[in-house]
Every structure is written in structure tokens, then in C-alpha cells.
Amino acid sequence: MPALAVEQVNQIFGQGTARVQVLHDVNFAAEAGQLTLIVGPSGSGKTTLLTIAGGLLTPTSGQVQVAGESYQQRSPKEKEQLRLNQIGFVLQAYHLLPYLTVADQFKLVDRIRPQGNLAPAALTQLLTELGIAELLNKFPNELSGGQQQRVAIARALYPDPEIVLADEPTAALDRPRVQVVGQMLHDLAHNRKKAIVVVTHDERLLGFADAVYKMEDGRLTQTK
């Protein structure tokens, strides 16, 4: 059973002359232990698919299953719990809370979700792998873009989610840093058995992916 399955999803925005169909019969599955890439140009529907996959947007038709259960069977509160416990998000603009140090970003998770987070030793190992173990007392405005992105990734992984959804995680990174983040996402999927889904138009990540889908005009096709 895939960790995340998107089945026959259509998404339509607007009505009448303003009606736009953003997604057309999209099918896609993300397996645990794999890094799945969804590539495509801006405006092709990648992010819409990501928000539907994360339970933030209800599709016009079709369904999304997480661990075999459809979002349609879950209440908004249950979807919220699912995002808190089983899905980690990495967003394009990092969006770390500006008044929390790196350490406090994790303490906040502890306060909201006291159990089930990575043990201190595992967190230290993760931070070391990401090369940010020395930055615990820094505020986001004291970090570079790449460092912030890696903190955001660590923050998403800290609750030990089964699924990680990443939106353009390398958008602001230079080539060497893209290689680092790509390798890191690949290793996280393989070593920690996570289903990692990355939507991106950055083709430099292709070499790290286990599965690649191409999104064009709302239609998804698997290329790898």
C-alpha cells in the first residue's frame, strides 16, 4: 500500500467564463523509502496537487488516501491531526517563525505535540546530517537562505512523519547547495523510510529521484 495515493483527482477553479480546470484526472502514488519528484513549469498545477495531497484543499472530484484512508472520511480536525502527526511540509519560503531560535522551533513542536517526536539523540543526528547542529541558538534572520531551508526540512522531519511534502525546496539555492539538498532528500527517503514528494521546476534534482512525474497543463505523466 502506498503511503500517499492520489486517485482520479480533478480540480476546477471558478465558474462560467472564469472556469479553469487546473488538474485533469491526476493519478499518482508515493511510496515509503522513495523520493518522488513532480516537475513542470510554473502554473502547471504542481502546487495545487501538493495542497490537495496535503489535505489543505479538497479536490473537485477524485480522492486522496493517506495510509489507506481517504481525506473524505476525515473531519477537518482529523485532517489537522494528520498534518501534525503524519505529514511534514517544507515550504518554498521556509517561513520559520522569526522570533524563535532554531532550538525553539523544535521546542514549539514539543509543546504542541509532546510525544512521538524524534528523540534528542536522533534530532542531533538529523541536525548534524543537515549541517546545522551548530546553529541551534541562531534566529532565522541570522541564517543564510540555505541554512533556513535546512532548518525548515529538519523542522518538518522532527515529528517523524511518514510523508514529507516539499514545495520548491531548492528555489533559492545555488548549484552546490541544490546537490546537497537533493542528496539529503534522497538519503532521508532511503535511510528513514519516508515517502518524500517534491514539486519543483528545478531539473537539477532529477538525478536524485526514485520516481519522476511530469506535470503539464494539469495532466500528470510518469517519466521515471
Binding site: R83, L84, I87, G88, Y99, L100, D104
Partner: protein, 351 residues
């Protein structure tokens, strides 16, 4: 609370400015409250010290002791818990001293008011030429043994004692004998007192031309008393509303600036309850810090304030004002809560 404390600590300048604003507002409200209380007390200190529940006046005196005169027939024989009071407005003058407007209150030494008077120095008057003065006259240079004249009349009086908290209509009180009061009133025949006061709530003289009032009703009718209190209450009320608006505006702006952060937390499954709690906690912490600052300033003011300024500090009353300001902070913090609850996680995910 965690988010609120962290944000306040990180954004020191912004938080300090808000706290400074609340310090000034709370200080102003505290000062006005203390001033209102002080002035109110200076209207009623003397009456309060008698612990009476009923005041009987001439029915045509418009509930004003200064204008009330009772005859011997109207007063008659009084029970033990009732006493006569003769009131006269006087200008106190003594050689080398500033002239002071005061209220002369004539008492009968055998009745409970005179018996219960507390003397801070000297003794109670026993002769028609002796008076017991409020402590505030000391600030004007009067002392034990000072010889004074009242209203420029030839008769001289000697201050034989001082008492504290003896004020009526914001003027210091001179307690004397009933015969001294009768002299001040021109020795009108058959005149017994201005009023009869009693410790019983049901006391009445029952004679024609007299009317009994509760002490509370009598105090409300003191000249300027109600108007003065209402003025202060209105000012304090307006300041409360202003503080509510200021807190609400600041909290709204702060919250609007944080909405993208809150949207990210919503994406990550953080319940809106946590974000609402953070907003309210931040508001309460800022107001509480402002109240602490306002209280410190108030204490310093109380220490430095000259005794002539009519201020009184009541911890329960000031605490109630503080709780009121905290409530304003809570309400002010609630205003942006709707935006927090409605924050759309999709706004932070690119298209």
C-alpha cells in the same frame, strides 16, 4: 504562552513601546482613581468617622447641613445612639498664618460623636473657646495652643488638640462645643443644631419640619460631590476605552504581521487554539507588564506627593482598576482572533 514570551523577548523595542504606552495609560488611570478617591474622602471623612446611618435635617434645607437649622422643639430628647451636630462655614485666621476656609462642627461632649473622636495630639475641647482641629491645619503652620479667630469675629479660640481624617466638603474641620456653634450662628434663640445624626438606620425625629435621610443619600447631596465623582468616573471610563482601542490596534497590527507565520503553522497542523492562546497571552503579558510599570510609578508618586494633594490609595480599588485594564487587554487581544482562526494555510504555499 511560549510563543508570546519568545516574541516579546525577541521584539524588545516593539514590545517596550507597547508596554510604555500601557504604563502611561495605567499610571494616568491609577492617579485619576487615587485623586477621585482622595477628593471623595475629603468630602466625607468626618461623616464616615462617625459611623452613622441616618442624618436628620430641616425638611426645607435641600438636604444640605449648612442650610439646616433645628429648634429645641424639633430635636427633643435623643436616644444614646443619636447626637446633635451644628455646622458653620468659617474662615480661620491667626496672626502670622495663612487664612484657611474650614467647617466648624459643634458637638455635645456627652454624646457619642464627641466621645468617639480620636485625638492625634493634645486633647478634646471642654470649653466654648477651645477647638479640636484637623491635622491638615498643621501644614498651614497652626499648632497646639495657636489662638485663632473665626470669620473675623472678636472672640478668640485656642487649638487644644488635633485629629486625623476630619474633613467635610474638602475643608478641614474644627470640632468645638455646641455653645461655640450657637455663638457663630449669632446666638439665635431656641436653636439647637444643624442636624441630628444617628447610628440606627431607622431613626426619625418624628417632629414637623424635619426629615431623615440615609447617610448615603445625604453624602450624594453634598455640594459638588456627585458631579465631581461622575466627572472622574467618566474620565476613567474614557481612559479604559482608549486603552482598549490602543491595545486592540497594536494587537491587530502585530497579528496581521504574523499571519503568514500563523498560516505556516496551520499548514503544519498546529491547531488554531494554540495560535489564539498565543495572541491572547501576548496581549495579557504586555498589559500586565504595563500595569507593573504603572504601579511602580504610582508608588513613587505616592512617596513624593505633597500631603496637600488630595490623593488616597486604596489597594482593592486600584487592584480592581488593574483587573479592568487586564480585561481591556483580553478584549483587545480578542479582536484580531477572528483573523487568526480564519487564516488560510494556502496563502503561504506558492502557486
Amino acid at each position: 504562552m511560549f510563543l508570546a514570551i519568545k516574541e516579546i523577548r525577541k521584539e524588545k523595542l516593539r514590545s517596550s513601546l507597547i508596554v510604555a504606552m500601557i504604563v502611561l495609560i495605567s499610571y494616568l488611570i491609577f492617579i485619576l482613581t487615587s485623586l477621585a478617591l482622595g477628593l471623595a474622602q475629603q468630602n466625607t471623612d468626618a461623616i464616615d468617622s462617625w459611623h452613622v446611618k441616618t442624618v436628620v435635617l430641616n425638611a426645607n434645607a435641600n438636604v444640605d447641613m449648612r442650610q439646616s437649622l433645628l429648634t429645641t422643639d424639633q430635636v427633643g430628647a435623643l436616644p444614646k445612639d443619636a447626637a446633635v451636630v451644628g455646622q458653620a462655614s468659617v474662615a480661620v485666621k491667626a496672626k502670622g498664618h495663612e487664612q484657611v476656609s474650614a467647617t466648624f462642627l459643634g458637638l455635645k461632649a456627652s454624646q457619642f460623636i464627641a466621645k468617639n473622636l480620636t485625638v492625634t495630639s493634645g486633647r478634646k475641647p471642654t470649653k466654648a473657646s477651645e477647638v479640636l482641629a484637623d491635622d491638615s491645619l498643621k501644614l498651614k503652620g497652626y499648632k497646639l495652643g495657636s489662638t485663632i479667630t473665626l470669620n473675623g469675629l472678636a472672640k478668640h479660640y485656642t487649638i487644644v488638640g488635633f485629629t486625623s481624617g476630619a474633613k467635610m466638603n474638602i475643608a478641614p474641620v474644627l470640632y468645638g462645643t455646641m455653645s461655640a456653634w450657637q455663638t457663630l450662628k449669632g446666638g439665635m434663640p431656641n436653636l439647637t443644631a444643624s442636624a441630628v445624626v444617628a447610628q440606627s438606620a431607622t431613626f426619625k425625629l418624628g417632629t414637623s419640619g424635619t426629615k431623615a435621610y440615609s447617610t448615603a443619600a445625604f453624602i450624594q447631596k453634598l455640594p459638588g460631590y456627585s458631579a465631581q465623582n461622575m466627572t472622574f468616573e467618566l474620565m476613567i471610563g474614557f481612559l479604559m476605552v482608549i486603552s482598549l482601542i490602543i491595545i486592540a490596534v497594536f494587537m491587530y497590527i502585530l497579528t496581521m504581521q504574523k499571519l503568514p507565520n500563523y498560516a505556516v503553522l496551520r499548514v503544519q497542523g498546529v491547531p488554531s487554539r494554540v495560535l489564539v492562546q498565543a495572541t491572547l497571552a501576548q496581549s495579557l503579558l504586555l498589559v500586565a507588564a504595563g500595569l507593573v510599570g504603572g504601579t511602580v510609578l504610582l508608588v513613587l508618586t505616592a512617596v513624593a506627593m505633597p500631603a496637600v494633594v488630595p490623593m488616597a490609595f486604596s489597594v482593592p480599588l486600584l487592584s480592581a482598576v488593574g483587573v479592568g485594564l487586564l480585561a481591556m487587554g483580553l478584549i483587545g487581544g480578542l479582536i484580531p482572533v477572528r483573523r487568526v482562526v480564519k487564516v488560510d494555510p494556502l496563502t503561504v504555499i506558492g502557486g
